[in-house]
């Protein structure tokens, strides 16, 4: 009965449900931003309050904070649905699981990734970033964090049956997120110091997000199917 369904209805319902869950009680939307804030606050205690130094490493610090906040918030992406039996019903319904994963990732990003992007300009003030640099970091985060969510979904699907999969998820996924980090920070840096053009790494970053939006859902869906056995 999957044939002639207009995809819009169930996709919209799934997106709305995921978004509602992430902003309501027990959802992780605000915790991610709080974690981001905590990480950024800790950095000056580690490297010292030198504003010039902070301005130089600011984009990298914001990116690493966003990376950690994204990855650590992903462990419940599929696990919550597995624990209460929803995942079984989703697997049975005959909906393309790749699309289900993609919609869940987008909703998760809208619930937890987008607040990080919105918070980034505020946190950039703490790190003494120029307005131009702030804009560049925010733009690269907006383009790059969906890739982190989509890549992280693979780890979330692989660790779906594990009680304490959060750390393992981060270990599995961090190698794959290195390219995103490299091009994200490079693009942001290029906007401040200009030996390299901004557009080259930025377009690479866009490409990585597009690749992740294909590889992530396919691999995660494959892992979820195997986990149901």
């Amino acid at each position: 009965m999957s044939g002639p369904t207009p995809a819009g209805t169930w996709v919209g319902a799934l997106f709305a449900r995921e978004l509602r869950l992430s902003v309501r009680v027990g959802g992780g939307a605000l915790i991610g931003v709080l974690f981001f804030l905590a990480v950024i606050t800790v950095i000056p205690f580690g490297v010292g309050p030198d504003l010039n130094l902070l301005a130089r490493i600011g984009p990298a610090v914001l990116w690493i904070g966003a990376l950690l906040a994204t990855l650590l918030g992903l462990d419940r992406l599929f696990q919550a649905d597995r624990d209460d039996g929803s995942l079984d019903l989703m697997l049975m319904a005959g909906r393309p699981l790749e699309l289900v994963v993609l919609v869940k990732c987008l909703a998760h990003w809208a619930g937890t990734g987008l607040p990080l992007v919105i918070a980034a300009p505020v946190l950039a003030i703490f790190l003494n970033l120029e307005p131009l640099a702030t804009g560049a970091v925010t733009l690269t985060l907006a383009v790059g964090t969906p890739a982190l969510t989509l890549i992280g979904a693979i780890g979330a699907a692989l660790t779906v049956s594990l009680r304490r999969g959060g750390l393992l998820l981060a270990v599995l996924v961090i190698p794959f997120s290195i390219p995103v980090l490299i091009f994200g920070v490079s693009a942001a840096d290029a906007a401040i110091t200009d030996p390299t053009p901004f557009l080259t790494p930025f377009l690479f970053l866009c490409a990585l997000t597009l690749v992740a939006s294909v590889v992530g859902p396919f691999a995660a869906a494959m892992a979820l199917r195997f986990s149901s056995d």
Binding site: G165, V171, P175, F176, S227
Partner: protein
């Protein structure tokens, strides 16, 4: 895990049992030749002196680290597409060996780096890529060890291995790009066209010896893994020899 599952591994055990001694001998001979050539044929570098000989361990180890991942990627395809029982065994046996070669490559690279760069670690593109590969190996092994059911663990790691195979070129490319951005001068160039035969031949023989070593170890590890699985099947059978059979009774 029934009879069909053991049929193939049984043939494998018989075949590998006969092959293994010969492989071991070939490996030992290749190492003898390779080490002799390394120490007595290959010349010292006019700048680096004898430390250049680390290269004859470092470069084959790095090659093997890559080759081992390819073996795992092919095995992962075998697990997911053809569902071959030995493919999973092969991938699982290859992972620790690959991690060991990667580690060896990192250690030798670091030891070679000390006289060359004056420090044990440089964020050189090559070393950094190998470090990322090492983390990926450890992640795969960790995933194998945390998922309890071996069949499910095999499938999960197969997915991750393939994702890694897609991502490795991207990671390599981005690390190279990052490296040229931060330190423009390339430090070592081994792949130049003018590599002298007195260096090339020992290197090739050592690479052959390492490859043979890999296949020997891999085969031994696969045999162990097959035995380990048989043992598990036997233990499970002993724990509960309970198999239900059922027939529906007629509707009343």
């Amino acid at each position: 895990m029934a009879i069909a599952d053991l049929a193939n591994p049984t043939r494998f055990m018989a075949l590998s049992g006969r092959l293994l001694p010969w492989l071991g001998i070939a490996c030992a001979l290749a190492f003898a030749a390779g080490l002799y050539m390394t120490f007595f044929v290959a010349p010292d570098d006019y700048q680096q002196g004898a430390t250049v000989k680390i290269m004859f361990l470092h470069v084959p180890a790095a090659w093997l680290a890559m080759m081992c991942y390819s073996v795992m990627a092919v095995s992962a395809l075998g697990t997911l597409i053809w569902k071959h029982p030995l493919a999973d065994v092969s991938a699982r046996a290859a992972a620790p060996i690959g991690a060991a070669f990667t580690f060896l490559s990192l250690i030798t690279g670091s030891l070679w780096g000390k006289p060359m760069w004056g420090t044990y670690w440089v964020w050189d593109a090559r070393l950094t890529s190998v470090l990322v590969l090492f983390i990926m190996y450890l992640g795969l092994i960790a995933l194998w060890r945390t998922v309890e059911d071996p069949i499910r663990a095999g499938k999960a790691t197969a997915v991750l291995t393939l994702v890694g195979a897609i991502n490795l070129p991207i990671i390599k490319f981005s690390v190279d790009w990052w490296n040229t951005l931060h330190q423009p001068a390339s430090v070592v160039r081994l792949d130049g066209p003018a590599i002298h035969p007195t260096i090339l031949w020992p290197l090739l023989v050592m690479a052959l010896a390492f490859t043979l070593l890999f296949f020997t170890l891999h085969m031994m590890a696969m045999r162990n893994e097959v035995l380990r699985r048989r043992l598990r099947t036997l233990q499970l059978g002993a724990a509960s020899a309970r198999t239900a059979t059922a027939r529906p009774q007629a509707a009343e």
